[in-house]
């Protein structure tokens, strides 16, 4: 049975042989010296290289550096390694190396970060080479034993065959010898047409424990003598913790300690989390809310609206011709203003981390999308050097970008540091999770299109105003102050390129950063940019009396991959043929994360306010399809996430705080509201695009365009609940 082995809670997942550590040697792809020292997993089985451990019974352990949070990367990455390794897929298990081990081995596993739909697309080449290298070494070991040329041997299903003689052996029998060989300097990867496992919708490797309650998430960690902590951070971002009266709660049942965590947060540590939370709720806390307490959604909206004025400074993200001049002299002009609100990730599992600190060691157990980032947070918060720190990654109860942040890891370490030798699990309440999100940024957008007398689109001006994620999260990635990611889907080239050719184009961003901390939220800037652009495309088409698909096609002749996915969904939804009585269609396309995607919806609307989505279709060209079953699930899941945000989402600010506190005020779609998502995959090859995020961008504009078709009413403000529009 395939299985993903989560790390044991009371010991390291595998050990590096002392000789290897002493000599600084290991057989690994990125380590330039080979040698006789074999690195062993905890059970004694040898590593062929950092990606592959083989047990005597032919079980193949594939190491996965990226984090599994439901998106299926664990299974997809294992498929990539196994394809080249030629191992028996039914005997594949996976495990996580730890960030501490990676640091000790000179980052042998490369990047651990799991965001931006990068899991497969940015590691596919080196993990496939890891599998291929291991196969070459295993085959060589068998050839050496038989004293035959390796070129006369083949490998399949973990069995090596010497073709001329018919002799066979298995990976499990030759692995000890293989692990001592020098890795080949170069390996040739398979031609995609020869793939057997890549492209197959094999089952996930981590399902069984998720159906029995056995899967251990961060919130489920149990360690001997562990205490539990509940935390409150100042609900006004940027505010401070003035004082608290711990005497009022120290006598409450189970309470062990009240600790100041930062200059803005306080935690109660107790025997159980329920006791900790109950005492925290009873703890008198005085906040110094500061200037930000004056900020509201209205004041933010007003400030952003000012940024739509052309007289205000803005960064240019895409430009050709002279859009402003062409608009000024146009025969006809169309203009519209849109906005998109803050959104909380609302992962099903609230943020949490468990830390054990002693002056000699600091260990953390948590779900994280960024193992190395979490490791860095442990170093910083503990003050200990890398060799005395470790992070044990656990299954994530949802990520969506939130768990790429390490705020909760830092908090857990700071609490544990005040109780040396006692493991402490910090778990946020849902209310804390809603209040202390790292929110999808707030933006507005003014779009202006210009036509000549023959109704040809001559100019387009897209003026974004609003928050930059990178400014807050990764300022080093700004380019002379500009946030290049703000233009996702609207960029001149790259992995989020604009799909239309317009003679005069100007796309710009007036950056305005309110005090609410932003974060990468599934789809990131594609979410609002695709709504703005794709709804406005429909507005432009309507203004000249043209069909929305035909109108787009005329602008897409130089963007064949964008056009191909648009055509694919148009065909699938039946564009150009009559829809059923009372049913209306909408369509949208965008590029993001290296993939070309499009979506189309069929909806009906009752009383102008009750929407039923009858059908929803997606197409994607991610270059290559590693696991079509998982891609279907990611597309459908992205639509649920995107439509939940469209209908029910939106986080508002009052007195500097987020107003929504739980799922009663920040709702999420249920099964009754979601139709089956029909997926069309049109992989064109030659590039590797992402899967988890891109399609989220087209769900909302497809539905909004269908709503316009049904009602003649254009919605330019999200979420729909603000306009009393909901699901039928």
């Amino acid at each position: 049975m395939n299985k993903h082995v989560m790390p044991k809670l009371n010991r390291r997942a595998f050990v590096i042989g002392t000789a290897a550590v002493g000599a600084g040697l290991a057989i690994g792809l990125d380590i330039p010296f080979g040698g006789p020292t074999v690195v062993r997993a905890a059970d004694g089985s040898p590593e062929v290289n950092v990606w592959v451990v083989i047990r005597p019974d032919n079980t193949t352990v594939i190491r996965i550096a990226r984090s599994e949070m439901g998106q299926g990367t664990l299974t997809g990455l294992a498929q990539l390694v196994a394809e080249e390794l030629e191992c028996d897929w039914s005997k594949v298990v996976t495990e996580y190396p730890t960030p501490g081990q990676s640091v000790a081995r000179k980052r042998a596993w490369g990047d651990f970060s799991t965001g931006g739909s990068r899991g497969i697309r940015t590691s596919q080449e080196y993990v496939r080479k890891g599998g291929a290298t291991a196969r070459v070494m295993l085959v060589q070991a068998a050839a050496n034993e038989w004293k035959v040329p390796a070129s006369e041997c083949t490998a399949a299903n973990s069995v090596i065959t010497h073709t001329p003689s018919g002799k066979t052996t298995t990976y499990g029998k030759v692995v000890e010898a293989a692990a001592k060989l020098e890795p080949p300097a170069e390996v040739k990867l398979k031609d995609p047409k020869d793939w057997k496992l890549i492209g197959k919708g094999v089952k996930r490797l981590d399902t069984v424990d998720k159906t029995t309650g056995a899967m251990i998430y961060g919130a489920d960690v149990k360690l001997p003598g562990m205490l539990n902590a509940a935390i409150k951070d100042c609900p006004v971002f940027g505010g401070k913790l003035k004082s608290y009266d711990e005497a009022k709660v120290m006598g409450m049942k189970g309470v062990k300690k009240v600790v100041r965590v930062s200059d803005s947060s306080v935690a109660v540590v107790a025997d159980t989390w329920w006791h900790a939370k109950t005492a925290l709720d009873a703890l008198p806390i005085v906040w110094d809310e500061g200037e930000n307490a004056k900020v509201s959604s209205e004041s933010i909206a007003k400030w952003l609206a000012e940024g739509l004025d052309n007289a205000q400074p803005a960064f240019v993200g895409n430009q050709n011709g002279d859009a402003k001049a062409a608009i000024a002299s146009a025969a006809k002009k169309v203009e519209a203003v849109y906005n998109y609100p803050y959104q909380n990730h609302a992962t099903m599992e609230p943020m949490n981390a468990t830390a054990l600190y002693t002056p000699d060691k600091c260990e953390v157990w948590c779900g994280t999308q960024n193992g190395e980032g979490a490791f860095a947070a442990v170093l910083e918060a503990s003050g200990l050097p890398a060799e005395k720190c470790e992070v044990h990654k656990l299954m994530l109860g949802g990520g969506f970008g939130r768990r790429g942040m390490t705020d909760y890891v830092r908090q857990a370490v700071i609490i544990a540091k005040q109780m040396p030798g006692t493991p402490v699990k910090l778990l946020w309440s849902r209310e804390e999770d809603m209040a202390q999100g790292r929110f999808h940024p707030v933006t507005q957008c003014k779009l202006t299109g210009a036509f000549d007398a023959d109704n040809n689109l001559t100019a387009l001006h897209v003026r974004l105003s609003g928050q930059s994620i990178l400014f807050s999260v990764r300022p080093a990635a700004l380019e002379n102050g500009k946030d290049p990611a703000a233009f996702q889907g609207l960029s001149p080239s790259g992995d989020a390129a604009f799909g239309y050719s317009v003679p005069n184009l100007l796309v710009e961003h007036s950056m305005r950063n309110p005090h609410v901390p932003p974060g990468f939220w599934r789809g990131v800037n594609v979410n609002h940019n695709a709504i703005y652009m794709e709804c406005f495309m429909d507005e432009l088409a309507k203004s000249v009396g043209q069909d929305p698909v035909e109108f787009r096609r005329k602008l897409m002749s130089k963007h064949p991959k964008h056009l191909a996915v648009l055509n694919a969904v148009a065909e699938k939804i039946g564009w150009g043929t009559p829809a059923p009585q009372g049913v209306y269609r909408g369509i949208a396309q965008v590029m993001g994360y290296g993939s070309y995607v499009a979506g189309a919806a069929e909806i009906s609307v009752t009383d102008g306010s009750k929407i039923k989505v009858h059908r929803i279709v997606a197409s994607t060209d991610p270059g290559y399809v590693v696991n079509p079953a998982q891609i279907e699930r990611q597309i459908a899941g992205s639509f649920v996430y995107g439509l939940s945000a469209l209908f029910y989402g939106g986080c508002t600010v009052k007195d500097g705080k987020i107003e929504q506190t739980n799922f009663d005020t920040y709702n999420s779609m249920r099964i009754a509201e979601m139709p089956k998502v029909e997926c069309v995959m049109v992989p064109s090859g030659g590039f590797w695009g992402g899967v988890g995020e891109p399609t989220i961008g087209v769900a909302a504009p497809a539905v909004l365009n269908a709503y316009f078709a049904a009602t003649g009413k254009r919605i330019r403000s999200i979420p729909l609940r603000d306009q009393n529009i909901t699901f039928a």
Binding site: T207, M348, G398
Partner: protein, 149 residues
Amino acid sequence: MANLTINGKSISVDVEDDTPLLWAIRENVGLTGTKYGCGIAQCGACTVHVDGVAMRSCGLSVSEAVGKQITTIEGLANNGALHKVQEAWIANDVPQCGYCQSGMIMAVAALLKEKPKPTDQDINEAITNICRCGTFQQVREAIHAAANA
């Protein structure tokens, strides 16, 4: 101190009467398959069976659970044989992150007991658990598969 019957076993837990059943199950009994998602009976991640009925254990106090048969996800299998809903979940590769799935499976198992062949409409009315990964399509397929197993 309260005496609870969980997965057929009598267990006494040292908690205050108003402790939510969810936290007694997770922290005092140590069964962590039942998840905390919202604490206000909105999301369904904490769903267990109380006398055979699916209930959200975060909204139920320990004192209300005394004397009742409580089944958690860990007790759904029978003598090591997985429940047909769990089997269907595996066969249909339902979970993504999986965090909500214990509650989802418990809600479905209770539905099938009441309505062995639920229609899509029955499913829409009975299954109101939140899944942020959006596994609804596979959930629906797996419910029908389990009903026909």
